[in-house]
């Protein structure tokens, strides 16, 4: 689907440009500053609502319009489908665990990368924590999956 073999030469440059705009927005909105997120969560400044819902408003229009404009995405040939994630208990459990971390630190993944871009080297603590947390859940879930299915697909 997005493998590198048959990929359009503009695929990677476009992803870079998209990331640039995305990161500029996180910097401009001040969401890359943990203090601003914590002020929002403590009801001292509700402006952050405009970041998430402003972003969702733009994607909402584009996600709705594109399937009516084009059959397939020009750089991948993929259909403009809604790739919806299935709902299960993990969404709520994981969301709650994420919420504890977000409320404690004021940092989420995208904003943490952007924070590095605005010169906040202290954020490396949060990035280290995120990789550690993602590794811990991957290790634990790999073990659970491998014990159910004794033939692992990945190279170990």
């Amino acid at each position: 689907m997005t493998g590198s073999s048959d990929r359009h030469p503009l695929f990677i440059p476009l992803v870079l440009v998209g990331g640039l705009i995305f990161g500029f927005g996180l910097g401009y909105s001040h969401m890359a500053r943990p203090e601003v997120v914590l002020n929002f969560l403590q009801f001292e400044d509700f402006g952050l609502l405009f970041v998430m819902f402003g972003g969702a408003a733009v994607t909402g229009v584009v996600f709705f319009v594109m399937p009516h404009v084009l059959d397939r995405a020009p750089l991948t040939g993929d259909r403009f489908e809604r790739r919806l994630k299935s709902f299960d208990r993990n969404v709520l459990v994981g969301g709650a665990v994420f919420g504890v971390g977000w409320g404690l630190s004021g940092i989420c993944p995208g904003a943490a990368y952007a924070s590095l871009g605005i010169g906040n080297v202290t954020i490396l603590w949060a990035l280290a924590g995120m990789f550690l947390g993602a590794y811990l859940q991957g290790w634990w879930r790999s073990r659970a999956a491998d014990s159910v299915d004794p033939a692992p697909t990945g190279a170990d």
Binding site: V15, V17, L26, L75, L92, G99, L104, Q137
Partner: protein, 163 residues
């Protein structure tokens, strides 16, 4: 024309820094995700980068499903860092660093790292792309992490932890 002072005062209390920086920033965040979607059909989130990058160094079966997307996810993340750096150079006038304690960042990061992967998304994947596609799963995820984050931040503040 005289403006009604009550809504103005309310706006000053709820939005002490105004709303333009937040609204304009949010529009750019959405535009960045939209550019990638228009070209590729991918609705990109920021947190899968954690697992996909771990696939370079770990053979755990959980990470191998992201091998196909790990290179462009690194490019996306580098773009985010560079885009924020452009903001810093043009508007911020130099580097800015947080005063939040290192242990809060580290411990919070661990919870975020576990939670976002178990919960299938983060503030950009669920909050911007998922809500934008009216996904009920994402709306439930956003409500879950928003409510728990508010509760956590209030408790941490009540305990007198600053900054």
């Amino acid at each position: 024309m005289v403006a009604d002072p009550v809504p103005l005062q309310l706006a000053a209390e709820l939005f002490p820094n105004g709303i333009s920086r937040y609204a304009i920033g949010g529009l750019f965040v959405g535009l960045g995700a939209a550019v990638i979607y228009v070209g590729t059909g991918i609705s990109a989130g920021a947190s899968t980068f954690l697992e996909s990058t771990l696939s370079y160094v770990s053979g755990q079966s959980r990470f191998q499903q992201y091998v196909a997307s790990r290179d462009w996810r690194i490019v996306f993340t580098l773009g985010i860092i560079l885009g924020a750096a452009v903001y810093a150079v043009v508007y911020q006038g130099g580097a800015w660093t947080t005063d939040v304690s290192w242990w809060r960042l580290l411990l919070g990061g661990v919870f975020v790292g576990i939670g976002t992967r178990v919960g299938k998304g983060c503030t950009s994947g669920h909050g911007v792309c998922g809500v934008g596609s009216a996904s009920k799963t994402s709306i439930a995820g956003v409500l879950a992490f928003l409510l728990v984050a508010i509760l956590t931040a209030q408790i941490v503040a009540a305990l007198g932890v600053t900054p």
